[in-house]
Amino acid sequence: MSTRTSAAVPSTPVRRSLRWRVVDIVVASVLAVAIGVVFKVWEFGYEPLSAAMTLVLPGTQAFFGGVWLLAGPVVAIVVRKPGAALYAEMVAASVEALLGTQWGWLTLEAGLVQGLGAEIVLALFLYKVYRLPVVVLAGAAAGLALGLNDTFLWYAGLDVAFKVAYVVSAVVGGAVIAGFGSWLLVRALAATGVLSSFAAGREHSRRGTRVVA
């Protein structure tokens, strides 16, 4: 069934542009703010989990730090524009800071570094590929950034074993929570049809049942 008439005259450019549309900016912002609130709530969940994990093997609590890496990959998968991961992490970090954290506005620095980690991976794929392996890799890269940043800045006073465990756990946490987790979250959102202005929403519909108008 032909879905376009032969007389179709596109009235907008046909290249898929990498320029941010208004809906990209607003949706990215809303997602980032929402995830920033999640970051804030997670702070309370993180502490007891972290305490438990450090009893087992100090350094492994970084795994749960993967939650703080969610903003970048989630927004990047939805919006698919350059700078999405970085922007999302910065906005989420700002929201977290505005709501009050123990790290104050230095969460911005963390957001910057973590966002860059994911951003670099996505840039390597020219912002065109958003399949699961790439997303997991981006999450892992963000985790690496988080691990290195934290051990350098906040845990400088601890021994090497701790630092190694920390970085490795951060990478794994980033891959699992931020990579795989964000992919799952976007799929669930796409199923509700709320992402229909985005390629992420359309990919899902191509696989699943089409909603006929």
Partner: protein, 536 residues
């Protein structure tokens, strides 16, 4: 200094949204001269919104020949001979959801937003802001927060924001759909003032076309995936296509539903308070569970008291008291309509009766036939007990959805109550509400009317004897409205007690409801004069 009105031309224009198979609009040929005022009507899905958004240059998707699920376009639409995107700012768009337009948190800043985007110098911005607010009649301080505005105020704020940009065309996409009657009047007057001030071209889409008849010179009827079917002066088009328009969901003035038109029971008009003889009817799926055991007794059952409110005071949370001194009776087989001015606390009352909000004073009591062993105070019931006794349909159906498919959604209630015949009930309801073809779709992907029907279906799946509805008919076209009202009529005919919080007088009339008007000092019943009633 006024800007000239814009000229809008559609030439064989068509649009298909991303991930849809059918074209939203197709083959539209329409020319609107500068300063003309045109109303566009048509069935849901005829692409009216699409048309308006194209004029404003804000269609969301980008056509992409490499991606067959992306949008597709055909023909051209030109504003003053140019692409709409290129002349953004010439066209001002106001949409249906009042909350969606508010960008900034202060009134003055919000109105100034458009001017800022257009690069207007700072001093001129504030002059325009003040004059725009004056024209639309919004008498608010510039630093007033935009959070607590009524729907009518918000739409006028949006109009002010558009006016400050000095548009050549004003495009309105059902601006009055979600407003109460006083809000509708406010918006109508604001639009008239705006048009008088600027002489701009007007394109308006509205189901209740009666609101705009005095302002428009032309009425255009669209066909789904077709083009323009009728185009002429309102009087001509309404006369020639009246029935077609009503079928298309337009509220044609003069064809409002008659009193009791949704009820099948033979009712003799009497003064309120007397018992009515109601014929038991309605599909089995709608029969309330509590009454199924005594199905043999028909007439004496109806009218039985189920809920009582005595000296009730309502509150929206610990500190915000809204109503006080309310006395009500909710009876089986009867429809109780709670009306009143905006902000008086109708929704709060509805939710308090439904056992979801705690009363701030007085009591809400369930009679033994409703309580059925669960205690007489609905607020103290457990969630499962409540669902089996009082069902609530919220104003926004999307607040109620908890499952991933329509079928699961309908099954949630019966499953929670441990019913044995879950699948049968679900199938019955899917058929009764016309949702069978959507059984596996995600509830969030349904259209507004379908979501509303699904919401009602999920509530009655648990067969509660009382159903409370909060604004069940807001923002709907005639066809959806009729479907909802018919179902509510069926529910009432089978003996369910219905409480409807509404500002829709057509609903009150069609369901032959007992109306109470909520005021500052309680609820006052509206007595109908039997002498003026027309026998059905």
């Amino acid at each position: 200094m006024t800007t000239p009105a814009a000229r809008i031309v559609f030439s064989d224009w068509g649009w298909r949204y991303a991930e849809r198979d059918t074209w939203a609009v197709r083959g539209v040929d329409l020319t609107v001269e500068p300063g003309e005022r045109v109303a566009i009507v048509g069935p849901s899905g005829a692409g009216k919104s699409t048309l308006l958004r194209a004029v404003a240059g804000v269609l969301p998707d980008e056509p992409d020949p490499d991606d067959d699920t992306a949008a597709a376009v055909q023909g051209t639409v030109l504003v003053d001979g140019a692409e709409p995107r290129a002349v953004r700012g010439r066209v001002g768009l106001v949409m249906q959801d009042p909350e969606a337009h508010t960008v900034m948190s202060r009134v003055g800043d919000d109105v100034a937003f458009g001017c800022e985007n257009a690069g207007v110098p700072q001093d001129e911005i504030w002059q325009r802001v003040r004059s725009a607010l004056d024209v639309v009649g919004l008498d608010l301080a510039l630093d007033r927060s935009t959070t607590m505005l009524s729907g009518g105020q918000r739409q006028r704020l949006a109009l002010a924001g558009v006016l400050a940009m000095r548009p050549g065309a004003l495009v309105l996409d059902e601006p009055c759909a979600n407003l109460d009657p006083s809000g509708v009047v406010q918006v109508h007057d604001a639009v008239r003032a705006l048009l008088d001030e600027t002489g701009a071209t007007l394109l308006v889409v509205e189901h209740r076309i009666g609101t705009w008849l005095d302002l428009i010179d032309r009425l255009v009827l669209l066909e789904p995936a077709g083009g323009v079917v009728a185009d002429g002066t309102p009087a001509d088009v309404l006369a020639a296509h009246g029935p077609a328009l009503t079928a298309a969901g337009v509220w044609v003035p003069g064809s409002e539903p008659a009193r009791g038109s949704a009820r099948r029971g033979t009712r003799t008009p009497t003064r309120t308070g007397e018992m009515h003889g109601v014929e038991r009817g309605g599909p089995g799926a709608f029969r309330p569970l509590a009454e199924s055991a005594s199905a043999s007794e028909s007439e004496s059952e109806s009218g039985a008291g189920l809920l009582e409110a005595r000296g009730l005071g309502t509150a929206r949370g610990r500190r915000q008291r809204v109503g006080r001194g309310i006395d009500l009776d909710v009876r089986a087989g009867r429809v109780l309509a709670v009306t009143g001015p905006n902000g008086i606390g109708k929704s709060t009352l509805g939710l308090t009766l439904a056992g979801l909000l705690r009363p701030s004073a007085g009591v809400v009591l369930a009679t033994p036939s409703l309580a059925d062993g669960a205690g007489d105070s609905p607020i103290a019931w457990s969630s499962r007990q409540l669902a089996a006794r009082i069902g609530t349909v919220f104003q926004d159906p999307e607040h109620q959805f908890v499952a991933r498919t329509v079928r699961e959604e309908l099954a949630v209630g019966p499953r929670a109550l441990g019913a044995a015949d879950v699948d049968e009930r679900v199938d019955e309801l899917l058929d009764a509400f016309g949702l069978a073809h959507l059984a596996d779709a995600n509830p969030f992907t349904l259209s507004g009317g379908e979501q509303r029907r699904l919401a009602i279906g999920t509530v009655i799946a648990s067969r509660p004897p009382v159903v409370v509805l909060d604004e069940p008919t807001s923002g709907q076209d005639r066809a959806t409205w009729q479907a909802v009202v018919d179902r509510l009529g069926e529910l009432a005919d089978t003996g369910t007690a219905i409480v409807a919080v509404t500002h829709d007088q057509d609903l009150v009339r069609a369901l032959d409801a007992d109306e109470v008007v909520l005021g500052a000092a309680g609820a006052r019943p509206v007595l109908r004069d039997p002498a003026t009633e027309v026998r059905r």
